[in-house]
Amino acid sequence: MSQTPADLRYTKSHEWLRKLPDGTIEVGITDHAQQSLGDLVFVEVPEPGRHVAAGDACAVVESVKAASDIYSPVAGEVTAGNPKLATEPELVNRDPYGEGWIMRVKPSGGAATETLDAPAYEAVAAAGG
């Protein structure tokens, strides 16, 4: 059974969003997503300073069987990619909502991807979305 913390927002493409005190948005992939992908062997995180639009593919998570894009849920500037993932991609499997965060984006206020609360996301995940 996968975890879906109630204090986060979610996308239909299986990212989670956490608003940090400084206003930046931390992004990772959900517990459901990491379970579906299996053991991650590589995570490619974006370079700080990169400007992204909502829906842009800006990171890649790779398991032995698939490589999947991670989309930025908001428009803005990437302030950080998780540097630990270069050597410890398994953090995403072990702690998807904590140490396994993927990137932080400072929103510029443009269009954002539609987000869901935890129960709505669980319904999407349960439906195999």
């Binding site: 490619e44 593919a57 032995v64 069987k65 698939a66 490589a67």
Partner: protein, 452 residues
Amino acid sequence: MPYIPHTPDDVRAMLDRIGAASIDDLFDEIPNSLRIDALPGVPAALPEMDVARLAAARAAADGRPLNFIGAGAYEHHIPAPVWALVTRGEIYSAYTPYQAEASQGTLQVMYEYQSMIAALTAMDVSNASLYDGASALAEACLMAVRAHRRSKSARILVPATVNPTWRRVAEVITEGQGLKLDAVPYDLATGCVDVKALERHAGEDITAIVIQQPNFFGQLEDVDVLTRWARANGALVIAAVNPVALALVAPPGEWGDGGADIAVGDAQPCGVPLSSGGPYVGFMACRMEHVRQMPGRIAGRTVDTAGKPGFTLTLQAREQHIRRAKATSNICTNQGLLMTAATIHLALLGPEGLGRVARACLARTAELVAALTQLPGVREVFPGPRFHEAVLKLERPAGPVLDALAAEGIVGGLDLERDFPELGHALLVCATETRTTADIEAYARALGRAAA
């Protein structure tokens, strides 16, 4: 029995099932302007006897000339076991089978090949081969753009001393993806990259620089200086190298401080005949940090669930059949048959044998240059150390001289005037270990008559 086993009834039943009126309907999204009804120039079917006669006539038209041309493809002796083994039924295929792990022998050959290429280039990791050296250079340029994420320019410096055919192929393959390949001039006195001209690009956003060693003129570039310049200016280094030369010159992994990022070349000199220009086999190796941007297949060594060693295709998650349009490259295979030939060839020669071949090439080219420059009006253009190739200057245009030599059954070299008009009446010549003193004397006599 027809090649397509379906009867008209089978076809009708399948079309009815999917609701299509005819087979042509399945292709109706292709505009008529892109379709062809006939293949002009392709004759009707011929009986086997006529095909054999036609092929024999074409082969005879090529003749068996005495060859003194290199320029990217080299005539080397290929020990008889190489092709006797390659043409055995077990391995006589260009393809990696589906369910590749069921063919452990095929994967082991790839693994051995990769190990040899990594050792020759002193790089961390090699792929299982690409189509040829020219397309390997193009793939290296694309790979550099993917790997160098801080560089936004997609601009690659390709010095004028890089094989001009490789440059043109790389331009054609990369231009649709927005890459810019910019030339850097060479020093007319040395035939090597003009470091002062390179310095004018200092501080610019350059994704990578290509360094060919030995360069197209056969001259040895100062690879350490060029590699350090690239490092200091934030550019990746793509090495284009000849596998035979690597027996004598420093491998890309040892250039400058820390080595090149990507090394490519053509493994044709290792067991692949000239074959009128192809097919050949490209190689590519890189630093481990770039491995996920490397195109093509990689065979890895692992252990199975019982702990027994075995071989497997690895890093497939980024290939086309899984990642579709976002794949690392459109290349989803390797040049399997010729890679096998290169592997057997290199295994037969070993490091010592490859070194002897390289030293013989060095000596034969020196002997050739000495013999030809005895002739009045023939002189060597560049003074530095060279490998395989030398540039000679004639007093008359090289084209008609080469035609006269060809009439005597001698392929006398490459006319450089088209690509390098600044060199005047210049000829690129080459002698490998396959040329004897008698061959060289015959060429010198013929050139004496033709260039007089």
